[in-house]
């Protein structure tokens, strides 16, 4: 299984509604450069892990990658060829809820060009449109 919480209060959750834009986590806080989403979406644990691997692989142990989102929300699904009804399906995967403007990944300790290249590779793994951002002073 990919990323998921260790303990949860409830096993299943309702889908919920995501309105508006990010009002927190919308600036580079830890590294020097970041990857900001331009759309609101669910980012699955697999996407996050793929992004993390892509960035660390490109950086060759130089610099540091910060992952600022975590999949806290369970998404349930019904097995294949099952008739409707008989209650809600079992949790199939976990997602992070991101709103437009959220900085998802950050990189520090490398030059701007290297950070950009690393984060472009991460952006290709993401299911949303992203942009490269710098820390605001």
């Amino acid at each position: 299984m990919a990323m998921m919480p260790k303990r949860v209060k409830y096993r299943k959750s309702q889908r919920g509604v995501m309105k508006g834009n990010a009002s927190r986590k919308n600036y580079v806080a830890f590294g020097e450069y970041g990857l900001q989403t331009l759309e609101g979406s669910w980012i699955s644990g697999k996407h996050i892990e793929a992004g993390r691997v892509a960035a660390t692989h490109y950086l060759h142990r130089e610099g540091k990658v910060y992952v600022r989102i975590f999949p806290y929300k369970p998404v349930s699904a019904k097995p294949l060829e099952t008739r409707m009804g008989k209650g809600k399906g079992e949790p199939a995967f976990w997602v992070a809820r991101v709103r437009a403007g959220t900085v998802m990944f950050e990189v520090g300790g490398v030059t701007e060009d290297v950070a950009k290249q690393a984060l472009v590779r991460v952006a290709h793994k993401m299911p949303v449109k992203c942009r490269f951002v710098k820390r605001r002073h």
């Binding site: 299984m1 990919a2 260790k6 300790g109 002073h137």
Partner: protein, 220 residues
């Protein structure tokens, strides 16, 4: 210190988000000037001039309001959700001869000693608060990290401040540290470590008696 920036301003008659949005469409930025026990004035500034000033690290601005000229420091800048466009600026009136508390950007200079041993510099804070005369506000404070080996850290008290600038932030505040990057776990390692399902806090656990009963029922 940078030259003070002269910004031409106009008084804003209308207030509220709709009129502010109209102003922004015209290439202006809504702002407010307050302080020195005078009435606060809502104004609009030219976006281009302000953005250029901010890029250069300007802290003090001269505002030309009709025939009046006021000196102010940029107290707060509000950005949109993407951190791209400026929405509003707070300007606080100051006297050139008074001392003010401002946050100044830190510039980490040099390559750390520990970089040779595989360490990287992790900056914890990008700004510190200082007290100085309005005319002495530095646009940034250079901080050398050359002497940092692996495991060393740099605190606010270690920063060499320019003359006439006093530290206001906590002297023990961590500025930067040189640490070795921990070996990143591979996806396979993470998968083997991670449980297949999380522990559910509210899940009802069967009592001992119930467990035995359930077992007997199954046998029957």
């Amino acid at each position: 210190m940078d030259k003070t920036l002269l910004l031409k301003a106009e008084v804003r008659e209308q207030k509220g988000s709709k009129s502010a949005a109209k102003i922004r469409k015209q290439g202006l930025i809504p702002a407010i000037v307050y302080g020195h026990k005078k009435d606060s004035v809502s104004i609009s500034l030219l976006e281009h001039d302000l953005v250029e000033g901010l890029k250069r690290g300007t802290k003090v601005v001269n505002i030309q309001l009709g025939e009046n000229k006021e000196t102010a420091i940029i107290k707060d800048v509000q950005y949109d959700y993407l951190g791209k466009d400026i929405l509003h600026v707070d300007l606080m009136r100051v006297d050139v001869s008074e001392k003010v508390k401002v946050s100044v950007r830190l510039e980490l200079k040099g390559t750390a000693k520990g970089a040779e041993d595989g360490g990287i510099i992790e900056s914890q804070v990008s700004q510190i608060e200082v007290e100085c005369m309005v005319t002495d506000i530095p646009s940034s404070i250079p901080v050398s990290v050359k002497e940092l080996g692996v495991g060393d850290s740099l605190h606010s008290r270690d920063i060499k401040l320019p003359e006439g600038v006093k530290l206001v932030s906590d002297p023990d505040q961590l500025i930067a540290a040189c640490n070795v990057v921990q070996e990143v776990k591979t996806t396979e390692e993470l998968e083997t470590e991670a449980p297949t399902a999380p522990e559910v806090i509210t899940e009802r656990k069967p009592k001992e008696g119930e467990e035995a009963e359930a077992g007997e029922e199954k046998k029957e």
